[in-house]
Symmetry: C2
Subunit: 642 residues, 2 copies
């Protein structure tokens, strides 16, 4: 096989790639290594037994009193009754506490409560005893040589107790696979270094090593390797010699500095390069000597997904443990999702239970978005033969979070406001089980979500140009059949977010159009977009004259970030966003931001907690006001209901 051939990224179907990979692992003896080591039982928690564990000694190892009282010979009491009690002398009984050995020649215990002490050396008893009553006989718990634990068992604290109780103090356990993660790329810097443009903080190896450990490995991380084939070659060879699994992160695609496939073909054998999955297509599965080396794509979402697909099962198989069964639930897609035929597509999903329906929403766009993993509750697979799923379609989701957590999640969809982060945190603090899942799809998106029964609460600030009133006319038009309350959250200042000190002296949209400054817009359906369009219409500005009008962002903070980085000169947004990033702010309007809550959800405890919070928590109010640009004069007030 030529080197050139190996470097070409193919598009092997996932199921086939898995079969080929399993076969390659089998051939190199990966599954039959089964290393074991000796550990003290005291240090064995969480380890996997390599052999069955049998009791060394019986437990208890002697006949033991099960009660506080006296040890007797049962036959001495055979005639005892209330009417004709029996007296025992000092030779005929021995005081015992629970756990004491029953002395030779005795075979029953009478509880202290039933013993009438006559004098120091005499007791009187009013009942007969049965042989071995209140005695824990030898081996009652386990007899020497009996099985305590089978092999392949993960040791719990109680298992340690059972082993120690029967004299087992050392056992053989299976060794976990040693995994090593090699980050590659000259652009990588450590988290405590300040990034320059083009630098990427090296955090992937932490995520990858974290999950490798969680799945049962002992994972180590190397320092980043520069984009230098020689250094990469040496690092891979060294890692393959001393580990059972090597993970190479990034360098898997076909870019000008992606050396991984070439180097792996030089030092070993590339089994698969390129799998028909999205994300994660350029993954490399290779063998260096007898050690599997997996080249993962660079983006965190792709890297974690491909590691989950190709490496997780390897670990369970290495340890000869049953693979974890995925927990699958059924949910309803909140929006359509396209997928290419011939590709297995994997999508991080946020789940929320609204009424009786579990709604599924993609948790973020793009493989580079770490937050889509942080927010991900589940994983949707769109199989290779499907073109996608439609809105409202039932889908099967693999849960990545517990079902209880998901049921306790309040679903907020609609316009973005910085208060929502504070609300999410405050809510989680007051009632730790409650989380807020919030999707920022603009005010109209929020209304539509309420109409489709996908959200508990929508945030909206839609200005009716004719009446000058907020939200109500839109509700009457789009949500007329739904009983609901419109509750004010805040009034807030909207204005132009500009660079610190406003060096271009931008005062209005007119300035932007006239001076040819670059604007950044919000998406269609956003309340802020409606406000932009209203002002442009009022001021007679043609959107075509506003440079960057077609460049859309989804949140106030994204607009502020674009200004902060000098990519653009100005954008319309709230004062809190400008303040957060230390930017200047030119006020344009005060607007009302309300919450729409269907009446069916008003009595749900998580919704009630939110309302309590915004209505009564003065610390929460102070924190909001400290963000700047907010007025809470109507906060929590019902402004409209139907």
């Amino acid at each position: 096989m030529s080197r050139q051939h190996n470097i070409y990224v193919r598009n092997t179907v996932l199921a086939e790639a898995m079969t080929i990979w399993k076969k390659a692992l089998d051939e190199c003896g990966f599954y039959s290594k089964s290393p074991v080591e000796n550990v003290k039982v005291d240090d064995s928690l969480g380890r996997i037994t390599a052999h069955p564990v049998f009791a060394h000694r019986s437990s208890p190892s002697y006949n033991a009193a099960a009660m506080d009282g006296i040890a007797v010979h049962f036959s001495d009491l055979s005639s005892a009754t209330e009417a004709a009690p029996v007296r025992l002398t000092r030779e005929q009984f021995v005081p015992v506490n629970t756990g004491n050995a029953i002395p030779e020649g005795f075979n029953a215990v009478v509880m202290i409560e039933d013993v009438h002490q006559i004098d120091k050396d005499t007791v009187e008893l009013h009942m007969p005893a049965t042989p071995w009553q209140h005695v824990r006989t030898i081996g009652e718990d386990l007899v020497a040589t009996e099985l305590i634990l089978p092999e392949g068992h993960r040791i719990r604290p109680i298992d340690q107790g059972a082993m120690l109780a029967t004299g087992v103090t050392e056992i053989e356990v299976r060794c976990p696979p040693r995994a090593h993660v090699i980050p590659t790329g000259s652009e990588l810097i450590q988290p405590d270094q300040a990034p320059k443009a083009g630098n990427i903080i090296e955090f992937n190896s932490r995520i990858l090593a974290g999950y490798l450990n969680e799945w049962g490995c002992v994972a180590t991380r190397g320092l980043p390797v520069l984009d230098d084939p020689k250094q990469l070659r040496e690092t891979i060879k060294a890692a393959a010699r001393t580990n059972d699994i090597v993970i190479l992160n990034a360098g898997a695609s076909a870019g000008t500095r992606d050396y991984s496939a070439r180097v792996l073909a030089e030092v070993g054998k590339v089994i698969i390069h390129g799998v028909a999955i999205k994300p994660g297509k350029p993954v490399i599965l290779s063998m260096v000597g007898d050690t599997p080396v997996i080249g993962l794509p660079g983006y965190p979402v792709s890297a974690l997904l491909t590691m989950r697909l190709f490496v997780r099962d390897m670990i369970y198989d290495f340890l000869a443990l049953p693979r974890p069964e995925p927990q699958i639930i059924e949910a309803v897609m909140s929006r359509p999702l396209h997928s290419a035929m011939g590709v297995d597509q994997f999508v991080q999903i946020t789940l929320g239970k609204v009424g009786e329906t579990l709604m599924a929403t993609p948790s973020g766009k793009g493989a580079g978005v770490v937050m889509s993993l942080v927010r991900g509750d589940g994983l949707l697979t769109i199989p290779t033969g499907s073109e996608g799923v439609g809105a409202g379609e039932k889908v099967k989701i693999e849960l990545l979070r517990s079902r209880n957590d998901i049921d306790a999640t309040l679903v907020f969809i609609g316009s973005h406001d910085n208060i929502l982060d504070l609300l999410a945190n405050q809510l989680h603090r007051q009632r730790p089980i409650v989380r807020i899942s919030s999707a920022h799809v603009g005010s109209m998106g929020g209304l539509m979500a309420i109409r489709r029964g996908e959200a508990h609460i929508a945030g909206t600030h839609l200005l009716d140009e004719k009446t000058g009133e907020y939200n109500i006319s839109f509700i009457q038009r789009f949500l007329k059949d739904i009983p609901l309350q419109l509750i004010n959250l805040c009034y807030r200042e909207q204005g132009l977010i500009v660079a610190p000190g406003n060096p271009e002296n931008i005062q209005s949209f007119k300035d932007l159009a006239d001076k040819g400054h670059i604007f950044i817009n919000r998406q269609n359906g956003a309340g802020t977009r409606l406000l932009t369009d209203k002002i442009l219409a009022e001021e007679g500005i043609d959107p075509a004259d506003l440079q960057g009008y077609g460049h859309e962002e989804y949140t106030h903070m994204s607009v502020a970030a674009a200004v902060a980085s000098n990519s653009v000169d100005a954008g319309l947004g709230i004062r809190a966003a400008a303040n957060a990033l230390g930017l200047d702010f030119v006020p344009i309007a005060e607007e009302r931001y309300d919450l729409i809550i269907p009446k069916t959800f008003l009595e749900e405890s998580k919704v009630k907690t939110v309302l309590d919070l915004i209505r009564t928590d003065s610390t929460f109010h102070e924190t909001i006001l400290s963000l700047g640009g907010y007025n809470l004069r109507d906060c929590g007030k019902v402004l409209y209901e139907q």
Copy 2:
């Protein structure tokens, strides 16, 4: 409050005790301590955020190429088409790899596949570009100051990645409560010491500390404290000064050497001593200074149960985390269980799914039986107002093991044989997910379990005295309507198990009766008991003349253990049991031991695995034969079906 009063063991109702305890913890400020500490994000895995975590920097922190290709200014390509391509010179484009910064003055990326290289300094493009296409704009993932994690969140690897990606390298996390376990009792020895009669291996503290850690503490263990009030007093005072929770194990009841309550009343305040629960009644809840000190009963089952009832929630509350929700399932009781009114009774349960029914069986008798915890799949609570549950009654069980594990469990009920341990282990080795849950209730118990649909397989060796045939006539009588197969497992030698060297020269039951030796019997319904009674009848021996005839054990190994300890002189059992403990064996009969399997279960994969194993695994056969006293001439053969 007098000391005497404190020492008296009361019987407070559980719910009331919990309320009183929570109030006492509240009053001493236990819940409001909320200590926090600074940790590096790299060391924060599994810790709980003490505050919300906000992004320090945007991610990405610069506009980054999302593809390999060239950076362009989109307006340069506005006229590009297939028919009229546009050429760009070296000043108009910059080659970029994925992740590279987009240079100042550029605002879009064209993928390498769409770039036609004309010469070193010229490229040709056939399509227009949209602004910011294939660019990850600043803050696409997160904008500086946005919320990454709320407070009270348990940190996962992906959370570490998200924090590091946005420049957060150190955070404040909640400190787990420091718990200290003090074992008490002069009889305690360490696991590596050889026990003399009356010694108890100190393993409880390992179990208790293990679970305290699992629930979120940092738990330490002390060395055992002798039964000496002065030493106990000093140890408790020292532990209370430096810990948030102190666990005292044993010394909680009212025996002559149980000093705990007295000492606790001296150095602190006893809040509760004695709760109406079984097991665990003598538990002590006390405060030493502001530190809760919990005195647990000595038996492991009681100790763990009371710690679970009174300490687990304390830990979650201390950390302000939601308490774990118990997973409750419904099962059918396989046998009646009595409970006293006025007492909350807790029973360790083994669960098995037989057909569509989940059967619940108590996993062991007695609070001293560690194996009942090892085997326990769930916990049954019989509340204070109930007198117990009947066989066949539906009960709610709190799961202690995953539902998948339980569904994969093969339920074996019936006669005990040492082969079963080997079978359990071999099965688990071949198919790690499959476990055997085996209840040794004798041959007749096995038949009854099959009749009630409670077991997949029953083991039986019932001799029909009239025909001399095994099992078949019993099946025809008790299981006549159930389609089943009777499959041989083995022939095995039964005989008298006697001391090594047979010092009393016991050769028969007649010898036992004549010489007044002490016998140990098996329970009613055991095949071995039937054999005993048949021989006694044949030899004309009156059971009343056989000393110890009324003393019953449930397994061959328990009989052997009684002989090994010199508690008795002989018992009837299989040769393998005698061999296991190095005892002598006087053969009396060869008997047949068969398996009954209802036909409905024959096709279940776990049952098929068992049959495959006994029919084809020669290593397994060799291991059985090495136990001694077995003959496998018909192993796996179907001897009868209906």
